[in-house]
């Protein structure tokens, strides 16, 4: 029995968790490599979708300078929509993809902790989402010819990375939905994405929203990411504390809440026999 118990020392557990985290990121890299052309097609669709929104600025009766500002604001909205969509999609795949492939039972009976598993998915989602967001941004700017002489890209990426902590936390809450409903759970993740962005001023200022929606916008991390990114891209602003501290607070709360919600969903699935391939 000594050999059995020796596998549970704290140091070994920590090391094993880090290896597990690496494994999640590595697996996602393998899958991205295998589905590269599909992902490329999806990227093209997202670029086309963003263009349909940004072109609105070209059709509005404004001066060229004002059109440039409006196009930039719409572009930031479109890029953050796409970024958030990818984060939710990848984190939600923690369950959905594993169930589809039939590997869910093997993964959920492995000794890696659920927070490490979910955070590994979140880390990959942020890396992949940032690369993809940059590609969309560059493609749309080049296609429409937006002028961004003052843009502070470093600050914009840093703010998006800070906001990602909150996005991952919310993604963890939606990731549990496919455990409860294998058929419809994934789609409900899109509902969360849409609801978050509609109150956050994705293509319009928050001031146009009804009062009650403006109140809700204060607890949405996307509000601060959108506001900060627009200032950074248009005016070259740095990391504004007014945007950073709400994101830190929401991030600090959303990760533990996300884990609690996921754990509750996992427990429900184990109780009702839903943690299996066919649901």
């Amino acid at each position: 029995m000594a050999s059995v118990d020796a596998t549970f020392t704290r140091r070994k557990i920590l090391r094993d968790e880090l290896v597990g985290l690496f494994g999640v990121v590595e697996r996602n890299l393998y899958l991205t490599k295998r589905y590269f052309l599909w992902d490329l097609a999806f990227l093209l669709w997202t670029i086309a979708n963003t263009l349909t929104i940004v072109f609105i600025a070209r059709g509005v009766d404004l001066s060229p300078a004002q059109q440039n500002v409006l196009a930039t604001k719409l572009l930031v909205g479109g890029v953050i929509w796409a970024f958030l969509g990818i984060i939710f999609e990848i984190v939600t795949e923690t369950v959905a993809w594993e169930r589809w492939e039939g590997t869910i039972e093997y993964t959920f009976m492995a000794p890696v902790s659920r927070p490490v598993h979910l955070i590994g998915m979140g880390i990959y989602a942020v890396i992949y989402g940032l690369v993809r967001a940059a590609a969309i941004f560059v493609a749309v700017v080049a296609f429409i010819g937006i002028h961004l002489p003052h843009a502070n890209y470093g600050a914009a990426i840093a703010l998006l990375a800070i906001a990602s902590v909150s996005f991952i936390g919310v993604g963890m809450m939606t990731a549990v939905l496919p455990l409860i409903s294998p058929e419809k759970g994934t789609q409900l993740g899109f509902v969360a994405q849409g609801l978050m962005l509609v109150v956050s001023g994705v293509y319009y200022p928050i001031s146009v929203l009804p009062d009650w929606m403006q109140w809700i916008s204060k607890i949405s991390p996307a509000t601060y990411a959108l506001r900060g990114n627009r200032d950074q891209i248009l005016h070259g602003a740095g990391l504004a504390w007014a945007d950073v501290w709400p994101l830190l607070v929401i991030g600090t709360l959303s990760i533990p809440v996300g884990l609690v919600v996921f754990r509750a969903g996992e427990r429900y699935a184990k109780k009702h026999g839903k943690l299996k391939r066919s649901g």
Binding site: V4, R27, G102, R277
Partner: protein
Amino acid sequence: MSISAVSVRDLSKVFSRRKGLFQRRRRAALSDVSFEMERGECVAILGQNGSGKSTLVRLLSTLLLPDGGSAHIFGHDVFKEARKVRRLVNRVSVEASFFKKMSAAENLAYAARFYGMGPRETHAKIPVILERVGFPSSRRNESMENLSRGMQQKVALARALLTSPVLLLLDEPTTGLDPRSKQEVQTFIREIREAHDSTILLCTHDMKEAEDLADRIGLLDRGELLFLEPVEDVKQRYGVDTLEEAFFAATGRTYEDERTEEDEEREVFA
């Protein structure tokens, strides 16, 4: 005092499904199942579809929570010390579930990372373990979707063995395999028993497989464990020559008897 490899006491699991708007139908998948397994022992559990075999395996794999009773693996409570138990257990099930687009080596590496095995370790071990299960190591970089069912099941065996489990749960590992692949898998299970310190719980429909591989044989019927004894004791107890006859004597039915609606539901629920 030595600790049992597996100790199950009055383990029960009930599944319920919605029937209509306000009704729920409940079916017992396992009813007060109790048994012990010693370290290094191979126990086979026989039973029809829906008899509770997979439910038992999934409970011991920490994938289900019970409605009653307890289970311990090497002294660790399966439901309260799940993470410790997970390190000791691995399984092979009827479906060799993998990421189909990923290669055998990538799938094995992914599984191994969750057990703390880094790239250097898996790089060295994966070709060796694949060769051991009879999978040509030269094909380890082919995607899983290009491999036959038998080959996939060998990779599934390699996945389980890669993590050196002290308890191996085999849930119909040869179901659906052609005779040659079936024989290869069975030969390998024998090898594991001889070469390793693994304890094996084998759930199967195949009575010959159970008789050939196991030290003791149990029969799960409609969630109840009717017996768990060495095969000769089973035959003696029922005064029969074969396990098929023992099944009939113990349950009052033949293996091929028409299944009731309850049996069908139990299979779907479990």
